[in-house]
């Protein structure tokens, strides 16, 4: 169950060279949203656009291919995409909203769908939710420290950042590559990530990430009826090149391992929080458990 419920899992990449030219891996999110926009499945999508500082994402509502393309690629810091979920249905007037997000953002989305306390008229307008794999995230200042102090690259000189094979890598515009062991980055992780019990966006319609597939490809889980329908249509339309996940290395085995590692580690954190302090009688005094 560490991978959540899913109807199918495949290796995939976009067939659009334009998308692949600046996508993080297989261009799944950009391609699927572009297809959904073209087909009227969504009126727009909340994606991580460019913010006020280099490599700072800012949630934007993309209603055109150009706006989607401008948001390609991964930024390893927080883009609070859920902040726009109601606004997308109001100021932007969207009836069918697409949203991409991390596992925790998918959790916020589904909670908003079932308990729309401050989310009037939002639940019925969620048309396509794409989740990404996520081990943890970094506050902007944390990322800045990793890139500028540890990798000695100016934020504005970096053209791509990547996490894989135990390393954090920064590529520069002059072709330079600066890498540090992932271990060095752990202290900069966002604390709130350490209680997260989801690695592969179990609650998305479709979730995707690089882990499990070769460079340039992505692993895709198709989870819900909505996801199944949109994915099938996109594949039929020739948007994606796919391979059975069983035929690629390292495959689901690695995804399962990393998911298990994350969940086991964070479950321990949740448990440790239950007796973080000490009461007068010597027993443990708890920090708040969000899952109770």
């Amino acid at each position: 169950m560490v991978l959540g419920n899913y109807k199918s899992a495949v290796a995939a990449r976009s067939t659009d060279k334009g998308i692949l030219s600046a996508s993080q891996d297989g261009g799944i999110v950009t391609q699927l949203f572009a297809f959904a926009l073209d087909e009227g499945i969504i009126d727009g999508a909340i994606v991580a656009g460019q913010g006020a500082e280099p490599w700072m994402p800012e949630p934007v509502v993309a209603t055109t291919r150009a706006e989607l393309f401008a948001a390609r690629g991964t930024r390893y810091t927080i883009s609070p995409n859920m902040a726009l979920i109601k606004e997308a249905t109001r100021s932007y007037g969207l009836d069918k909203v697409g949203i991409v997000g991390t596992p925790c953002q998918m959790q916020g989305l589904r909670k908003a769908q079932l308990y729309p306390i401050g989310m009037r008229d939002v639940p019925d307008k969620i048309a396509l939710a794409i989740g990404i794999f996520c081990m943890e995230n970094f506050p902007y200042q944390g990322l800045e420290t990793m890139v500028e102090d540890h990798c000695t690259v100016k934020m504005e000189s970096a053209v791509k950042m990547d996490i894989g094979k135990g390393k954090f890598s920064v590529y520069t515009e002059r072709g330079g590559l600066s890498q540090i062991p992932l271990k060095l980055t752990h202290k900069y992780e966002q604390p709130g990530c350490h209680v997260c019990l989801d690695y592969v966006s179990n609650l998305a319609d479709v979730s995707t990430g690089s882990v499990g597939t070769p460079d340039g490809w992505s692993t895709v889980f198709v989870r819900t009826k909505v996801g199944d329908s949109v994915w099938a249509r996109a594949v039929d339309a020739g948007c994606f090149e796919t391979k059975p996940i069983e035929d690629v290395k390292p495959g689901l085995e690695l995804v399962t391992k990393l998911a298990t590692d994350k969940i086991t580690k964070n479950q321990k954190t949740v448990e440790a929080r239950a007796s973080f302090g000490v009461k007068a009688d010597g027993s443990g005094k708890a920090l708040r458990n969000p899952y109770l």
């Binding site: 419920n5 949630p59 810091t77 927080i78 609070p80 995409n81 859920m82 902040a83 726009l84 979920i85 109601k86 606004e87 997000g101 991390t102 925790c104 953002q105 959790q107 916020g108 989305l109 589904r110 909670k111 908003a112 769908q113 079932l114 308990y115 729309p116 306390i117 401050g118 989310m119 009037r120 008229d121 939002v122 639940p123 019925d124 995230n137 506050p139 902007y140 200042q141 966002q190 604390p191 709130g192 990530c193 350490h194 209680v195 997260c196 179990n202 609650l203 819900t224 009826k225 920090l287 708040r288 969000p290 899952y291 109770l292």
Partner: protein, 257 residues
């Protein structure tokens, strides 16, 4: 349909926005009234002058403790209703009425407004200003399933309502500050932005991945904290979002697949 439950809307000191939010389910409201619930009390919609016996009381507004009628009516509501729902920010937390200091025309002596939970025991708290129409709809459907459903439906409804019952136990004070005290200070915030979207007065902006609360703007409705995925997150319910959404859709007579 047989075995409808009885529901009343009890109006304390509120703006009727919560009732309007219920009504904004449009045909869904008719479906609820046709199949699941008889509206036995609602000053704006039903010609009944005294609080009758009912299964579920949806209470809107806070209680002015200098208003004898209001105090008597909320106590009567507790005596007559099996389940009391604090509907919206005022009933739950006082909301904007927390800022009242009296002196207003034409009852200047009315200066103390309390969330209903400070006067009576509350079973379910549904915050927000107003609570989303679909949230009220979901609570109505779940209340029906809890009282009249099959065993399986009763279990689902109980699981669905549990976090809202826990909110009722949590207390009668709410503020945007809850995001600091109970989420960020507790090391639980991951910057998803849900709180910012839920705020009815746009008092929350996301700055460097964390909510920044304009505390002078906050009306204390409780929506942000209740909506936060790190305030409560019941995997047993939310993991089933697809089937529950279909169930509610079917209950509302929407075709579905």
């Amino acid at each position: 349909m047989a075995n409808k439950i009885t529901v009343g809307h009890v109006h304390m000191s509120g703006c009727t926005g919560c009732l309007v939010s219920l009504a904004d389910n449009y045909e869904g409201l008719f479906k609820i009234l046709d199949d699941y619930a008889d509206l036995v009390y609602a000053l704006t919609l039903v010609d009944v002058r005294h609080v009758p016996e009912m299964d579920v009381a949806l209470v809107e507004g806070s209680v002015c403790i200098q208003d004898e009628n209001a105090v008597e009516e909320i106590k009567e509501t507790r005596r007559k209703a099996k389940v009391v729902v604090a509907l919206g920010g005022c009933a739950s937390y006082g909301n904007i009425t927390r800022f009242c200091r009296g002196g207003q025309w034409n009852q200047p002596q009315h200066e103390s407004y309390l969330p209903i939970g400070d006067i009576i025991d509350v079973d379910v708290t549904l915050p927000g200003c107003p609570p989303g129409s679909q949230a009220i709809r979901n609570v109505c459907v779940m209340a029906y399933l809890l009282l009249q459903g099959s065993d399986e439906q009763k279990a689902l409804a109980a699981a669905y309502l549990t976090p809202l019952m826990n909110l009722a136990k949590r207390g009668t004070e709410a503020c945007g500050c809850d995001l600091m005290y109970d989420v960020i200070n507790q090391g639980l915030c991951m910057g998803c932005g849900t709180c910012a979207a839920s705020c009815p007065v746009r008092a929350i902006t996301m700055v460097y991945g964390k909510p920044q609360i304009d505390r002078d703007m906050c009306i204390k409705c409780g929506a942000c904290y209740a909506q936060c995925p790190r305030s409560f997150f019941n995997f047993d319910v939310i993991n089933e979002f697809e089937s529950i959404t279909e169930l509610i859709g079917a209950a509302m007579g929407q075709g579905g697949e």
